[in-house]
């Protein structure tokens, strides 16, 4: 998994509230293979009219925000469907950090697993940042220090202005280290085997297909290697 430490990049003041994952990537694009890249689908139906012409109201395609790798939004970003493709669309477009006052739970979890930072700020700071970046500019997001610093706007008076953000401490460590959950889990194979054996004995009805093969959890010498 990709790690995240600091990022200095242009930031786009998207400014929308309740950006659901259906907006982040409309369902009709999800049949495509990720290999083709999902970046072109990001916020597709907000960015483009039905005939394909760009809608100027969405700042993502505004030349002042060209090269944006950070998005600033209002409350409840990434609500709705659990589709991880919403994160793929952001990531493939180039977005590595979204700043907002709140996030959909599943979206935030999906984001971290793909190296994308969901940085939670106060409503007031989100409003301030949206104002400061309205005409373009860049931010430095520091995950070690949990800080956001204004590093470039049209006027220099706000340069160096600092904001703080919050993120679940475990998610912060995962992002900083680029940890892969599956590798971590496979260190616990013996405990999983014990749990499974106990559950199968104490509540056998929780295994509706007892005849089915299962992972050889009890082969502890296998060091978590999975069956081929």
């Amino acid at each position: 998994m990709q790690s995240f430490t600091t990022l200095t990049a242009p930031a786009c003041p998207l400014g929308l509230a309740n950006v659901d994952t259906d907006q982040l990537i409309p369902a009709r694009f999800m049949k495509r293979s990720r290999a083709q890249g999902y970046g072109g689908f990001l916020l597709h139906d907000l960015r483009f009219a039905e005939d394909g012409t760009p809608r100027p109201a969405i700042p993502l395609d505004d030349p002042r925000h060209a090269g944006a790798r950070i998005l600033i939004a209002r409350r409840n970003f990434g609500t709705g469907s659990s589709r991880e493709a919403a994160v793929y669309a952001l990531w493939d477009y180039g977005i590595a950090c979204v700043i907002a006052p709140s996030f959909g739970d599943i979206f935030a979890s999906n984001a971290v697993k793909n190296g994308l930072l969901p940085a939670q700020v106060s409503e007031a700071d989100a409003e301030t940042l949206l104002g400061l970046l309205a005409d373009g500019g860049s931010l430095t997001v520091n995950l070690e220090a949990l800080s956001i610093t204004v590093t470039g706007t049209n006027t220099t008076e706000h340069h160096g202005q600092r904001f703080t953000f919050v993120i679940d401490p475990v998610r912060r460590l995962q992002l900083l280290n680029g940890w892969d959950d599956i590798d971590l889990t496979l260190r616990h194979t013996a405990e999983i085997a014990d749990y499974r054996a106990n559950r199968a004995t104490s509540q056998p009805w929780t295994f509706p297909e007892p005849g089915m093969p299962s992972q050889a959890w009890n082969t502890r010498g296998a060091k978590g290697r999975l069956r081929p």
Binding site: D22, E50, N76, V87, I192, Q203, W205, P208
Partner: protein, 470 residues
């Protein structure tokens, strides 16, 4: 595990803990993993590692998101056909049970799970679909996950989680005539907002919940994700047990007696504390419809389209309403009951169970729909039962299309779409922009309210429809 009084959720959590790290991340055992056509990203991750499915006996595939609802078994769109075939291929390769297109028990995953007795009290259930919260109606811990987590469960049958906070919504009184669980769900979401339960495990309690059928509880837990809840649940009771009796994979005989004792003990301890407690007056819930592009944009059918000019203090909210009304093509101040519709949809994991179809058919019996519409039952078994009761003939006689089961027009992945600019009265869960099709305008409501809208061609208070003679 402490000896302090525990909530239902505390008990479900404790029962699934395999190991806990110092930082609070906890490895939980997954009892049921449902996968569907959209899970292909996760299977690709599995292939990249050359890994197998750890527990094929606890993994169940259901073809629902992309399946056609008409003309089966032919799938006209080759891309859609590819999605369905990929799921079949993964099921065959990894050796797990698939409820595929040609299976008599096929249907929407959140309908099939309970119907097959795969959903039981006390289980931890996950699926790569946000509406997995539905299964909590049985007193299980059920939640939606993303593709990375689906891959993790496929490979390990476990998930790392941090314990969410606990929230309770108590609903007092009783629901009035023609007021359903859907109305209650929309009322709750409008009251607390789409992020009102964010980060929380939500438990419903109170006399209105006890009186709800299993179908009603499923609808309520289903919609809880639209209030941001991580999961939602109702403590199992006699209603739950009666519904489960005789389901194919539910325990029976001596195992059932033992299971029942465990299930009854899941109810929260009397003094257990919640991080948040919300009280809702069930008597005050009216038939409710949405007017905007978020499920929180809901009002009683007796209300009017909001006027942004009436809220000068909140610029962001005002701008949001202007945008939403622009998309929905609505004028401020118009009575909701005067909004003309172009079509209706009855279906989805929210409201396509037998009780939902009966409620809609009761309104449509002997009447004609003034607009076209699609009825897609929650499962093929629901479809067969509805046909045995003659409900299909009521829908067809009203002029509606009686179709096969799938996610269908709720999400439009199979090509069942609302045309751009069209207004649809829908029993589904999300009125997001473009959810039912590019430019589609969705109004969420209960099955009875959708049926009433079909009859009059506009959003309608089902309580005002005159009873039919004879």
């Amino acid at each position: 595990m402490s000896t302090a009084p525990r909530t239902l959720f505390d008990k479900l959590w404790d029962e699934h803990v395999i190991t806990e790290r110092e930082d609070g991340e906890t490895l939980l055992w997954v009892d049921r993993h449902f996968v569907h056509e959209g899970s292909h990203h996760a299977f690709r991750k599995l292939d990249e590692r050359g890994a197998a499915v750890a527990e094929p006996g606890l993994t169940f595939g259901v073809a629902d998101h992309y399946v056609p609802t008409r003309g089966r078994p032919v799938i006209a769109d080759p891309e859609v056909a590819g999605m369905v075939e990929r799921l079949s291929g993964n099921a065959a390769r990894h050796g797990f049970r698939l409820f595929g297109l040609d299976d008599p028990a096929q249907g929407i995953v959140h309908v099939v799970g309970p119907e097959q007795g795969l959903t039981l009290p006390g289980l931890l259930i996950v699926c790569g679909d946000s509406h997995t919260s539905t299964h909590g109606a049985f007193g299980s811990y059920a939640f939606g996950i993303g593709a990375s987590e689906v891959a993790h469960v496929l490979m390990t049958q476990t998930l790392w989680q941090r314990k969410p906070k606990r929230m309770r919504i108590s609903v007092s009184g009783r629901l009035g005539p023609h007021v359903s669980a859907k109305d209650l769900a929309l009322h709750v979401i409008a009251s607390i907002g789409t992020n009102g339960a964010q980060g929380h495990a939500l438990e419903y309690a109170g006399p209105v919940i006890s009186a709800l059928s299993m179908e009603g509880r499923l609808t309520l837990c289903n919609m809880s994700i639209e209030a941001g809840a991580r999961c939602a649940m109702v403590a199992p009771d006699e209603t739950t047990f009666a519904w489960l009796a005789g389901r194919p994979r539910a325990p029976s005989g001596a195992a059932l007696a033992e299971a029942r004792a465990r299930w009854l003990a899941l109810a929260g301890d009397p003094d257990a504390e919640f991080d948040r407690d919300i009280f809702i007056d069930g008597n005050a819930v009216a038939p409710t419809v949405t007017w905007g592009t978020s499920p929180e944009d809901a009002l009683p059918i007796t209300g009017r389209v909001p006027d942004p000019a009436a809220m000068p203090a909140d610029a962001a909210r005002r701008a949001y309403i202007v945008e939403a009304l622009g998309y929905m093509g609505l004028m401020p101040g118009v009575p909701l009951g005067e909004i003309a519709i172009d079509r209706i949809f009855i279906g989805s994991c929210t409201n396509a169970r037998l009780e939902d179809l009966r409620a809609a058919a009761a309104v449509l019996r002997g009447r004609k729909a003034l607009v076209p519409g699609l009825v897609s039952p929650g499962s093929s078994l629901v479809k067969r039962q509805a046909e045995a009761e003659g409900l299909d003939r009521i829908f067809i006689a009203a002029g509606l299309t009686w179709a096969d089961s799938g996610c269908s027009m709720c999400v439009g992945m199979n090509g069942d779409l609302v045309a751009s600019g069209e207004r649809c009265a829908s029993t589904t869960n999300r009125n997001f922009r473009g959810r039912q099709g590019l430019g589609a305008r969705t109004h969420l409501m209960s099955p009875a309210m959708v049926a009433a809208a079909a009859v009059t061609g506009r959003l309608t208070d089902v309580r005002d429809l005159p009873p039919l003679e004879g």
